[in-house]
């Protein structure tokens, strides 16, 4: 899931200050799970914005809604009736959702209500840990199921650096050393032999270094005729 957190209220209020008719919209997917942009968070934020508006005579007219997924055009379409007459849209989805809304409603100013952080998973209630760096060239089969890209501060591919002390990373005593975890995992699996092999320098082209990425699954792509039929 994509993990995000709400921007500070000061920043949100400053962004919205030139506007009067604002639509706040959440997303019931990842950001609802990480308690940042679901129905409940949208209700809290909208009420806080109304209160801020009353206290500071901003005259904001705040309307709120939450869609199933802001990252898919079909669900974004549902916003159309509420978008009428709005001069600002505050997206409580991840950066992907906010951009999909902009593509569908290019004449409305879009503001991000959240800071999108990473691809992670819940560790315990209220805590989410990063798990995947989206490098486009997965090596989990070589590293005992533990990602050295996302979980090692230096993204080391062949063992720990000198900052690994008693299983902890030098960046913080709370951060486990990914390579200690990789070693423990491979030992448990009886596959320490995997550590004998050198992992070649990584091809970073499928990662962010190659610019915006597009995945194409040819079998799912519609031909022009099929597109016409679907329309």
């Amino acid at each position: 899931m994509i993990v995000a957190e709400r921007k500070p209220m000061e920043e949100i209020c400053a962004m919205l200050s030139p506007h009067s008719k604002i639509l706040v919209a959440g997303c019931r997917s990842c950001v609802a799970i990480c308690l940042a942009g679901g129905e409940r968070e949208v209700a809290s934020l909208s009420e806080a914005l109304r209160l801020y508006s009353d206290l500071n005579s901003m005259g904001w007219d705040i309307v709120e809604t939450t869609v199933e997924r802001q990252c898919e055009a079909e669900w974004v379409d549902e916003l159309a009736p509420m978008m009428e007459g709005r001069d600002a849209f505050l997206s409580m989805a991840c950066g992907v959702g906010a951009q999909k809304v902009r593509e569908r409603f290019p004449d409305v100013m879009i503001y991000p209500g959240l800071n999108t952080s990473n691809m992670g998973a819940p560790a315990e209630q209220g805590k989410w840990d990063e798990r995947c760096g989206g490098c486009g060239d997965c090596v989990l089969h070589l590293t005992g199921g533990i990602c050295p890209i996302a979980r090692c501060a230096k993204g080391m591919l062949n063992g720990p650096c000198g900052g690994s002390q008693e299983g902890r990373c030098e960046i913080s005593p709370e951060t486990p050393c990914a390579w200690q975890e990789i070693y423990d995992s491979l030992k448990r699996l009886g596959r320490l032999d995997l550590l004998e092999a050198t992992i070649d320098p990584k091809d970073w082209r499928p990662s962010r270094s190659g610019g915006p990425r597009r995945i194409v699954k040819e079998s799912a792509v519609l031909s022009e005729e099929e597109m016409e039929w679907k329309r």
């Binding site: 500070p8 809290s44 009420e47 806080a48 209160l51 009353d54 206290l55």
Partner: protein
Amino acid sequence: LVHRVVCFACENSAVHLIPEEVCLITLPCSGRVEVRHVLRAVREGADAVLVLGCLEGNCRYHIGTIEARRRVSEARELLVQIGAGDRVMFRNLAPNHPARVKRVMEEVNKLIDTVGRNPLGAKK
């Protein structure tokens, strides 16, 4: 001037002991209170919002008081961030705690003295 206090209280806590001048909203469980309820009360002019739950571990629904405490702290964070001041309080009270209710009401008044009256109250 009488302080405007809104109290969201679990029906199993000390609801019948809350003074008459407090705007009392009884809930089946304190865990039913949402952040937006607290903020709305402040927007309607409340000088302070008190959320009352049962004693810890006594919640009929097991986690109601934990949820309520969490939401009150979230509401407090939002109130402070938008400059409305910390004017929300969560307390655990049982129906047989008249002396403690009195103390809590004194704490509420002290909270209002510290944070000041709600400027929106005068407009209502």
